[in-house]
């Protein structure tokens, strides 16, 4: 079956073992995660996992059913790239001497719409938010000047359509 990129969004209670429980669902099915991030959601005390996987639509549907079945999961969704607005964030640490000696670096930073987060006598840190291709392009461009460190976050994503978690929580209350 055709593999696509899917973003799985999981709204959960704040429970210490839940990360393990959700990752175990992927482990059991031998599915690699492209990226994984978690944070507070729009509702107080409700957390949101954003998980990116490359798989087929049948598989992702079944995985989401299994995730949703977990007691501490409020609701899980999956979306294609077209259905979401998503970004990743990357940090690049470069030697300060390069910034002053290589004029080209400044042009690269300007052209990529990256910003400089901090500058010290030894190093400076560039930040870039965007699609994977954009942060990757900047990494490749900076590499020849000696990247001291590079790190990229997991995908964060919001959907174009409504999620309606508050309504879902309300309906659960009525069903129980």
């Amino acid at each position: 079956m055709k593999k696509d990129t899917f973003t799985i969004s999981v709204y959960t209670e704040n429970n210490i073992g839940l990360l393990n429980r959700i990752s175990a669902i992927f482990l059991k099915r031998h599915i690699n995660l492209e990226s994984f991030s978690t944070s507070q959601s729009e509702i107080q005390n409700v957390y949101r996992f954003v998980i990116v996987v490359k798989t087929d639509s049948e598989r992702v549907r079944k995985i989401v059913q299994q995730i949703e079945k977990q007691v501490d999961v409020i609701k899980a969704f999956y979306h294609t790239d077209e259905e979401t607005i998503f970004q990743e964030n990357a940090l690049y640490k470069v030697k300060s001497s390069s910034l002053f000696e290589e004029r080209q670096i400044q042009n690269i930073i300007k052209a990529s719409h990256a910003s400089i987060v901090t500058v010290s006598p030894e190093f400076f840190v560039i930040e870039k938010t965007g699609f994977r291709e954009e942060t990757e392009k900047l990494r490749k461009e900076l590499a020849p000047y000696g990247l001291l460190q590079f790190v990229r976050s997991g995908r964060i994503s919001v959907t174009k359509a409504k999620m309606g978690i508050s309504e879902i929580l309300e309906s659960f209350k009525n069903n129980n």
């Binding site: 429970n15 210490i16 073992g17 409020i74 209350k173």
Partner: protein
């Protein structure tokens, strides 16, 4: 009789509100009507055991001989009583020994709460003595688990544990309690859990899907029902019987659905799956409508999915939304407790009969009877068969015993030939196929249904995996009847070796001990039978015994279980020999 000390303390426990975490655990169990628990003590759970000692007139603790035995006993108890089974163990090896039983309960949807002791919270993560990450280990095989580090969490978490274990699709819950939380004092109060906002155990039945299902049932000319344990777990036996009688549709069971209706019910057409009956397996690929009720299309039921019921419309009555369209794509899903959905269907379906279709089933039954069943039940060869041994048990149980089985050939023979009159009478390890399940599960089964006759039918291999539970049976004087069908082989594996590995019997021959002497060593009455002429009287004597009783039946060494659908083959490729 096993030695038992009873001590009454002059403390009115119910008045005392400022109590330890350990006492709170016991009080929570009593609040949840769990007055029978199985377990094994050890360092990290000693405070709770100390409270069990004080509460022993209210709560009976059964000391098993291994923690695995405690889980299987709790499972057996849950399966026959319909209540939540409880197992206790200490940290480290005590906790890890529970894992097989927990995994078994998870895959067979058995409500169970396991409580483990844990090292004190300040030692967590320090590789302390008998520390193990049982939360991490048990996560993939529990419905829910939680580690308690503060005594004041105990009441709400215990309430949640029981609620989650028994509601919706039941399953095992593990609660790990650090030793300091057991010692800590707090003000106890208990409130039962009635709902969790993120957890929706019952779905509302879709009216539109109900309409569509009714239409499909109305149009069908060759319908077939396959039911599973959902009927039993949902207490929907009566609704199911009404559905069968009104709809006139023939019905076959999965291994865990067995005993939901009496064996002699006219709609009962036998078992589906790998060693199921010929007719329902073949007709799965001939029917025009398949109604799956409380079952999950396990691979042992379906065989090759690409050749499973492709010609049929499929209606799936299922409580767990994650099971719908998981293995088999269905046309209509009725996602609800099947007690509810069957009741709705019953209100609307018309009474029908399918004489031609049923005649086709009966014609296939005749073939199976001639080629397989006759020689299993009325063998002409010298050696005893498993089938005739089970038939003899039927004779002396009046088809009304709880039959507990292990895993392997004897399990298939027992499920095929044991006869039942009441629901919740078939206790077996279905999904996980846990050898060693039956002996401890029989203990729990008997304690969960003390007025019923409980017969454990076990192979010589699986029996030796948990044989130490004979000690529990003797100490507790649990009047179970234990039948070992001994063929001196790991029979099912040997059968596969014969059929698919050119008879290379790699490590399947068992050089067995004297089972009768072993049982007698545990002070249990025991007998061996090897001749057909002695079988009747031996079974009769066993069934008449008021005490635990062990019977070894030496059966034909190299018998095979048929029919059989080889792994990965289609249900249409079912073999009779």
């Amino acid at each position: 009789m096993g030695a038992k000390t009873k001590i009454k303390l002059n403390i009115d426990q119910s008045d005392n509100k400022h109590i330890s975490g350990a006492e709170a655990v016991v009080r929570c169990l009593l609040e949840e009507d769990a007055n029978l628990v199985y377990g094994y003590p050890g360092g990290a759970i000693m405070p709770i055991y100390d409270e069990l000692y004080k509460y022993q007139d209210k709560l009976h603790h059964v000391l098993t001989r291994h923690e695995q035995g405690a889980t299987h006993a709790a499972q057996g108890f849950a399966r026959t009583s319909g209540k939540v089974g409880v197992a206790l163990a200490t940290s480290g090896p005590g906790a890890t020994n529970l894992v097989t039983g927990i995994a078994d309960a998870q895959i067979d949807s058995t409500p169970m709460v396991c409580i483990t002791g844990q090292v004190a919270s300040h030692l967590l993560g320090s590789d302390a003595f008998q520390e193990t990450d049982i939360i991490g280990i048990s996560t993939p095989v529990t419905k829910w688990n939680y580690q308690i580090t503060k005594a004041n969490e105990i009441p709400s978490i215990m309430a949640k544990a029981f609620y989650i274990a028994r509601s919706g699709r039941p399953g095992p819950v593990l609660i790990d309690i650090t030793k300091d939380a057991q010692f800590e004092f707090f003000d106890f109060s208990y409130e039962k859990c009635t709902g969790i906002r993120s957890y929706c155990p019952y779905q509302k039945l879709s009216n539109q899907n109900l309409e569509e299902a009714l239409l499909l049932i109305d149009e069908a000319k060759k319908p077939l029902i396959v039911w599973g344990q959902g009927v039993i777990l949902g207490n929907a036996e009566e609704e199911f019987k009404t559905f069968l009688e009104k709809s006139g549709i023939p019905a076959a069971w999965t291994i865990l659905g067995l005993s939901a209706i009496p064996t002699d019910h006219p709609s009962n057409r036998g078992m589906v799956g790998m060693h199921g009956n010929y007719a329902p397996n073949l007709l799965t690929n001939e029917c025009d409508l398949l109604i799956a009720i409380g079952m999950r299309f396990d691979d042992r039921v379906t065989g090759d999915l690409t050749k499973y019921a492709k010609q049929a419309k499929i209606i799936h009555l299922e409580l767990d939304p994650a099971e719908v369209n998981k293995n088999v794509k269905v046309d209509v899903a009725l996602i609800a407790d099947c007690k509810v959905s069957l009741n709705e269907l019953n209100k609307r379906i018309s009474t029908k009969t399918y004489p031609k279709w049923i005649a086709r089933l009966k014609a296939l039954d005749k073939i199976e009877n001639e080629k397989v069943i006759q020689s299993d039940l009325f063998p002409k060869k010298e050696g005893l068969t498993m089938g005739e041994s089970i038939e003899m048990i039927n004779k002396y149980s009046n088809n009304d015993a709880i039959i507990v089985t292990d895993v392997g050939q004897h399990q298939m023979a027992a499920c095929r030939y044991a006869k039942f009159s009441q629901s919740k009478s078939n206790v077996t390890s279905g999904g996980l196929g846990t050898m060693g399940f039956a002996l401890p599960a029989a203990i729990g089964s008997k304690m969960g249904a003390p007025n019923r006759e409980v017969v454990a039918i076990i192979g010589d291999g699986g029996y030796q995996m948990t044989i130490q539970e004979l000690g529990t049976i003797f100490q507790q004087q649990v009047a179970v009847k234990i039948v070992v069908l001994n063929n001196d082989f790991l029979g099912m594996v040997r059968q596969w070796q014969q059929l698919f590995f050119d008879k290379r019997y790699a490590s399947t021959e068992m050089v067995n001990p004297d089972f009768v002497t072993i049982a007698k060593g545990f002070r249990i009455k025991a007998k061996r039978v090897a001749d057909r002429k002695d079988l009747d009287i031996a079974v009769k004597e066993m069934m008449a015994s008021k005490e635990p009783y062990f019977l070894e039946v030496c059966v034909e060494k190299e018998d095979n279980v048929f029919p059989m659908i080889p792994t990965g083959a289609s249900v249409s490729d079912i073999r009779l020999e």
